[in-house]
């Protein structure tokens, strides 16, 4: 059985999906310079507007349901990808009380997201993946394989992560945060912008008139370092090769690459090297994190939606904030341009050397 993305919805610091795509094509970053999390050190963050993160999460999933051909999600498997789960809520209690007494243990881990959604929508079963920044990209790996053996006809993938002190201050401790808007792939890039996001996609085994196919997924491990990628880019190349093999498409058939492109020194150098080594036809590449920031566990799902929109619109996203590319051997467009886009690769890389690439394409 094949796997089709039939409906989706998202929220990020750039707004809903339509607003996000407008921002991407107009090179308008949605990053704000903020000192909420670190009083003395303003940093660039991707902040969303909401009163309650979980209410917004349910609204996004409700949008997907209402746009779908389903009456409810009773015959749908939910797969969540998240890196922090309910951390923000735990922090709030701990910083106020200076003890754990008011922390609800069931609302701290990743499963708070599946439980919140399960209680409202009544899915037939749930899974939750937490492989840091590849979490929701790995949801595609699981979903495609489950559908290939006809285990499920409907799977909802939800990538969701809220900003919290742990991630903002933690990335600062690693010296990879940018104090300004991030500038992926630039020679003089400063670092990344931590961001929050919610992305939900309904995958089905039957195509509809507006479907995008999940053609292939590949995953690998660097086995090199906990936070730095393999400088030879072997892990990144391996996952992309596996995804292309799984999709049964040739390297020359790729029309656009949505890069992981966090804006950190290590990621961008290695990812560019991987793309340079693998794609001799030099397809256009850009990182939309220059607009959204890095939404961590939600990034794979959010960038899957961006990839679907790119295929449907036939417009290549430019590399926002690109001045001078560090690696001139990859094709980073400075402006958006029209092109027949049939197949897109989306990359996600994470702590622990966890790598995932997903191939999306037009329905044949």
């Amino acid at each position: 059985m094949k796997t089709y993305i039939n409906n989706y919805a998202s929220r990020s610091c750039a707004g809903n999906t339509t607003e996000l795509m407008n921002a991407i094509y107009n090179k308008q970053t949605a990053i704000t310079i903020d000192n909420t999390f670190m009083e003395d050190t303003p940093v660039g963050l991707g902040k969303m507007q909401y009163d309650n993160f979980f209410s917004l999460l349910k609204d996004v999933v409700q949008e997907v349901l209402e746009s779908s051909n389903l009456k409810d999600f009773s015959e749908t498997l939910l797969i969540v990808g998240s890196s922090v789960g309910g951390m923000a809520e735990s922090e709030k209690h701990y910083f106020k009380d200076k003890n754990y007494t008011n922390i609800d243990p069931s609302r701290h881990p990743i499963s708070v997201i599946t439980e919140e959604l399960e209680s409202k929508f009544g899915f037939c079963d749930t899974r939750a993946i937490s492989t840091a920044c590849t979490s929701s990209a790995n949801a595609f790996l699981l979903a495609k394989r489950l559908m290939s053996v006809n285990a499920y006809k409907n799977i909802l993938i939800v990538g969701a992560d809220a900003l919290c002190y742990t991630t903002v201050c933690g990335f600062y401790a690693l010296s990879v945060l940018a104090t300004q808007e991030c500038t992926p792939f630039n020679v003089n890039r400063e670092g990344m912008n931590v961001a929050e996001g919610i992305a939900a996609l309904l995958l089905q085994t039957t195509a509809t008139k507006d479907s995008i196919e999940v053609k292939g997924v590949g995953a690998s491990s660097d086995a090199y370092h906990m936070t730095n990628p393999d400088p030879e880019a072997n892990g990144a190349i391996s996952c992309m090769k596996k995804a292309l093999d799984d999709a049964n498409v040739d390297i020359t058939m790729i029309d656009y690459i949505n890069a992981h492109g966090t804006g950190t020194q290590a990621n961008d150098r290695v990812e560019a090297l991987a793309i340079e080594k693998l794609f001799i036809s030099a397809p256009p590449v850009s990182s939309t994190k220059a607009v959204t920031g890095h939404t961590l566990g939600a990034a794979g799902a959010l960038e899957a939606i961006i990839s679907c929109e790119v295929i449907k619109r036939g417009i290549v996203p430019p590399q926002t904030a690109l001045q001078e590319a560090e690696n001139s051997n990859i094709n980073l467009p400075k402006e958006a341009f029209k092109k027949d886009i049939h197949i897109v690769v989306s990359n996600s890389f994470a702590f622990g050397g966890n790598n995932t690439a997903v191939v999306f394409g037009e329905v044949e």
Partner: protein, 215 residues
């Protein structure tokens, strides 16, 4: 959809607080690396070693992830002291299998699941799927390490603060003799381990165990 899997090896371990002997010096001879490991990583490495797993696809699970590292970070933020970069890199849920990957040069697919008290059920389901797709044997393992200061402020269910269970399984050629998983939990072990503990208990009674798993 149900599939039948052969259980190749299985092991469990738990303790009221810190598990004493995880054979760390033998499994991780380099002291600098050993010192960086999280408790979940040490438990996972012990279970992998005990099950005879060296390299390949892993499905790892933990309901609460790396609580020790998370607490260290939030304490540093609260007290306005610097956060250790090692603590932050260790705080992600996939730290334990990532350390396994580093130590064993395992470049294969490693997926980490965290779904509350059904974590070990999900780990078994995903491992069965991975074996069905690849035909390979899969190491599935769940660990929890809740032994942090003042855990009593939030813990009223887990008697054993460190626990883990690991299983190597492989898709069976047929369903002949396959059994359903019989729940036989060990009282006081956190429920996120229930299905794997039950499986280990069945395996200890039947070393030729073949099991049905619903995908």
């Amino acid at each position: 959809m149900k599939v039948a899997v052969n259980i190749i090896s299985a092991k469990k371990i738990y303790a009221k607080q810190k598990i004493d002997d995880l054979n760390e010096k033998s499994i991780v001879p380099k002291m600098m690396m050993r010192r960086r490991l999280t408790r979940n990583a040490k438990i996972m490495l012990y279970l992998a070693d005990s099950c005879g797993f060296r390299n390949g696809k892993i499905i790892y699970g933990s309901a609460f992830g790396e609580l020790g590292a998370t607490v260290g970070i939030t304490d540093a933020i609260l007290n306005k002291t610097p956060i250790s970069p090692t603590l932050f890199q260790n705080s992600v849920y996939n730290s334990a299998p990532s350390y396994f990957s580093l130590l064993n040069s395992d470049k294969d697919e490693i997926i980490t699941l965290s779904n509350g008290m059904k974590t070990s059920k999900d780990v078994l389901k995903c491992a069965a799927l991975q074996s069905l797709i690849s035909g390979e044997s899969i190491f599935c393992v769940v660990t929890e390490s809740l032994d942090i200061d003042r855990i009593d402020e939030v813990n009223n269910c887990a008697h054993y603060l460190e626990a883990g269970a690991g299983v190597i399984l492989q898709i069976a050629e047929n369903e002949n003799g396959a059994k359903e998983l019989q729940s036989s939990i060990d009282e006081g072990v956190i429920a996120s381990l229930d299905d794997l503990i039950s499986l280990v208990n069945m395996y200890e009674e039947d070393k030729e165990l073949k099991l049905f798993i619903e995908l």
